[in-house]
C-alpha cells in the first residue's frame, strides 16, 4: 500500500491554471485508472478529467470552486503497488510549483545562460546565483537583462523587473483567459513549427448536387449536413489514402529521438468561432462516419463548444484541422497550425467563378483551399499530392452518405 498524490494535469499545450467545478468521486471511493474523477473549468471549457491511477481516494485536496496551477497536488490516492513517486498526471506538466527549500545537491532546474558570450565588449556576464535561477525559471536570457549590481552584476531585482510585464499603454484592455490561451498557442505554433502552404481551387458542383439530394430525403429533426461535413469526410478519406500526413512530430529535431507518431485513426479538429474567441473541438474516427452521422456528431460537438461543455478528449488527439470562415469569409486565407497537429486546411468563401473547361467558359461555384503543413512532417511534394487527392474526392461523387 502506498500513498500517491494526484496532480492537476495540463489540458492542451498552453493551460496554466484551472478551476475545480466538482469532484465526481468521494473520499473512500475506489477509482479505476481512466475513470472520470473530476470536472475542471479551463480557459477553454469545462473538461472531465480521468484518474491517472487505480486506487482508493484518501483525501481531496482541491476544493470545488478553487483554482490551482498545473502540477499542484489535487488529491491523495491509496494504491496497491509501491509508488516510487507521485502519479504522473495525464498530460506531462511543467512543474510550476517552486521549491520551498533548495537542496544542496541539485543544480538549478534549467541552466541559465552561462557567462560565455557576455555583454558589450565581450566582458564576462556577471550574475548572482538567485538571479540566474529566476531567469532560468522564466526562460529569460540574462544577456538581455541589464545588471544594476556591482560591476554590472545582474541581480535578483533586475530579473524580477524583466519578468514583470511592461506597464500597459493608455487604454489597454486585459485579455480574457481564453484569448490569452489562444495567443499562447498561436505564438507557440509560429515560433516552433516550420509551416508552408499549398493552394488549390475546388469546384463545389458535385458536392452541391449530392447535398441537395441528401437533404431532400432527410427527416425534419435530423441535423442538416453542411459543406463542412463533406469536407470532413473528404479529409478523412484522403488522410487514409495519404497516411504520411496523418501523424504528428515528436521530440527535438536536433536530437536522435525525433520521430513521427502515426495517429490511431482519423481525428480532425473543426475551428469554431465562439463569442469570446475560438475553439477547435475534435471529431474522432471521422473515417468511420457517413455524412449524415458526421453531421449529427459535428452539430452536437459545435453546440457544446459554444456552451463550453466539451469533454477533455474532445479537445485533443487531432492531426489535422479544418477552418472554414463561411460565406462572409475571405476569398482565401492561410491558417496557422494548432500544435501538436500537422496540418490545417483553410477554406475560402464560395464564389461563382468563371472557369475554362476545354475551350468553353463556365461559371462554377468554387473556393480557394489553402493547406498549411508542418514541414517537419511533410514536404512540398507530399503536401501537393494530398491536396490534389483531396480535391479529387471533393469533386467526385463517391460519398458515404449514411
Amino acid at each position: 500500500m502506498a500513498r500517491v498524490e494526484l496532480k492537476l494535469p495540463k489540458v492542451g499545450l498552453v493551460m496554466e491554471n484551472a478551476r475545480l467545478v466538482r469532484w465526481l468521486k468521494a473520499v473512500g471511493d475506489v477509482v479505476r485508472q481512466g475513470e472520470p474523477l473530476l470536472e475542471l473549468e479551463t480557459e477553454k471549457s469545462v473538461v472531465e478529467i480521468e484518474s491517472a491511477e487505480s486506487g482508493r481516494l484518501l483525501e481531496l485536496v482541491l476544493q470545488p470552486d478553487q483554482e490551482a496551477q498545473v502540477g499542484d497536488r489535487i488529491a491523495w490516492l491509496e494504491v496497491d503497488a509501491p509508488a516510487v513517486g507521485a502519479a504522473p498526471p495525464l498530460a506531462a506538466p511543467p512543474d510550476n510549483a517552486a521549491a520551498s527549500r533548495p537542496s544542496p545537491a541539485t543544480a538549478p532546474a534549467r541552466p541559465a545562460v552561462p557567462g560565455g558570450a557576455g555583454t558589450a565588449g565581450g566582458e564576462r556576464l556577471r550574475s548572482s546565483p538567485v538571479a540566474r535561477r529566476l531567469a532560468g525559471e522564466h526562460d529569460l536570457d540574462l544577456r538581455q537583462i541589464s545588471g544594476t549590481g556591482p560591476r554590472g552584476r545582474v541581480q535578483l531585482a533586475d530579473v524580477q523587473r524583466a519578468v514583470a510585464s511592461e506597464p500597459a499603454p493608455q487604454g489597454a484592455q486585459p485579455l480574457s483567459s481564453m484569448r490569452r490561451a489562444v495567443a499562447r498557442l498561436m505564438t507557440l505554433s509560429n515560433a516552433t513549427v516550420p509551416q508552408f502552404f499549398v493552394e488549390r481551387t475546388v469546384d463545389w458542383t458535385a458536392v452541391r448536387s449530392v447535398r441537395a439530394q441528401l437533404l431532400a430525403g432527410l427527416g425534419a429533426d435530423v441535423p442538416r449536413p453542411t459543406v463542412n461535413d463533406f469536407l470532413l469526410q473528404a479529409i478523412a478519406r484522403t488522410l487514409i489514402a495519404v497516411p504520411a500526413l496523418n501523424a504528428t512530430f515528436f521530440g527535438d529535431a536536433r536530437s536522435p529521438n525525433a520521430a513521427l507518431v502515426p495517429a490511431s485513426g482519423v481525428h480532425i479538429g473543426l475551428v469554431v468561432a465562439t463569442g469570446d474567441g475560438l475553439l477547435v473541438p475534435v471529431l474522432h474516427g471521422v473515417e468511420q462516419l457517413g455524412v449524415v452521422a458526421l453531421a449529427r456528431r459535428r452539430s452536437d460537438v459545435v453546440e457544446r463548444a459554444l456552451q463550453g461543455t466539451l469533454r477533455r478528449d474532445e479537445l485533443e488527439g487531432a492531426t489535422f484541422s479544418l477552418s472554414n470562415l463561411g460565406a462572409r469569409g475571405p476569398d482565401r486565407f492561410t491558417a496557422i497550425i494548432n500544435p501538436p497537429q500537422s496540418a490545417i486546411l483553410a477554406v475560402g468563401r464560395e464564389r461563382d467563378t468563371v472557369v475554362a473547361i476545354g475551350t468553353n467558359m463556365q461559371i462554377r461555384p468554387s473556393s480557394q483551399l489553402t493547406l498549411t503543413v508542418d514541414h517537419r512532417v511533410a514536404d512540398g511534394r507530399l503536401a501537393s499530392d494530398f491536396l490534389a487527392a483531396l480535391v479529387d474526392v471533393l469533386e467526385g461523387d463517391a460519398w458515404h452518405l449514411g
Partner: protein
Amino acid sequence: MSQTFIEILRRALDEAMTDDASVYLLGEDVAAGGAFGVTQGLVQKFGGQRVRNTPISEAAITGMATGAALCGLRPVLEIMFIDFATLALDCLVNQTAKYRYMSGGQLAVPIVVRTQSGAAGGAAAQHSQSLEAWFTHVPGLVVVAPSTPLEAYGLLKSAIALGDPVLFIEHKRLYAMKEPFQAPAALPPIGRARIARGGTDVTVIAYSAMVRDALEAADELAREGVSAEVIDLRTLTPLDMETIAESVSKTHRVVIGHEAVQNGGFGAEIAARIGGELFDELDAPVTRVGCPFSPIPFAPELEQALLPGMRDIVHAVRAVCT
C-alpha cells in the same frame, strides 16, 4: 523592575542548584562571588561544599570538574577569562570533549564551563579575546554564546541539563545589560537560533554582544528603507542551519558579524556553509564583519578603532544591498 545580566544569570544558577543536588560550582573566587559577581551569595545559600573556591590552577580544576562529572556530579566550572582557557586546553580538548567518544559511549561528561570573552575598555590583549572559534573546531564540545540576560538564563539552564560538555561564553560588555526578569514559557533549546528581528532585505547573523549591535544597525537601516532580519545564533556548535536557510531563502543577502578576529573566526564556517548549501539563494557574496587581524590594544582610542560594531554592520549591509 529591571535586573542585570549578572543578577539574572545568578538566578539561573540558584534555581539549577535548587532543582538538582548534583550541580556543584567551582572556580577561582566563585565562593567570593566570582570575578564578575555572578556567583555572589550562592555559597551562603548552598554551603561551602557545593560552591568551592579553587587555587589558580586552570588545568587541574578543569580536570577535576571533568573527573567529577564522570562520577555523577554536574559541575559548573568558572574560568574567569576565556583567555585563561588556554591553560585548560589539554583537559578540555583531549579529554573532556572526547570522553564519550573514546570510551565507546560508556561515559559522559555533563559539565558546563562558564567563561566570558570580549573587550571592555583597557583590559588589553590577554584579557579581551574572543576565542570561541577554537572550541567550535573540537568535536564533542557544545559552544553557547547568549546575547541578553533572559537568553543567558534560559540557555544556562538548558546547558546544565544537556548532558554533554558545554562551553558557555558570556560577554563582559553584556554583564551590565538590564531587562525585567520574566521566566520564559519554555527554555530555549541548545542548537536552535532565534530571529531577534524579522526582515526581508538582508539576513544579519550574529551572536553574543554583537546581536545588540546588529539590532541597532537594523534600526538605522530601516530608516534608509532596508529591512534587516537579525538572527541570534545562541549556539555555535551545533549550528542551526535550518533557521539560517529559511532566512537566506527569503532575503538572498547575508552579513555575519562577530567581535572575534575575522580571519579564521566562526563567521568563516558559517559563510562556507551558506556558500555550499545555499548557493542558489544568494544575490550577493556572503560578507563578514569581524575584528581586524591584531591583538586588542590597551589605549581606548586604539581599542575602539579595532572593535567591530553597529557602524560596520551598517556599512556591510549597504555594500551587499547595492
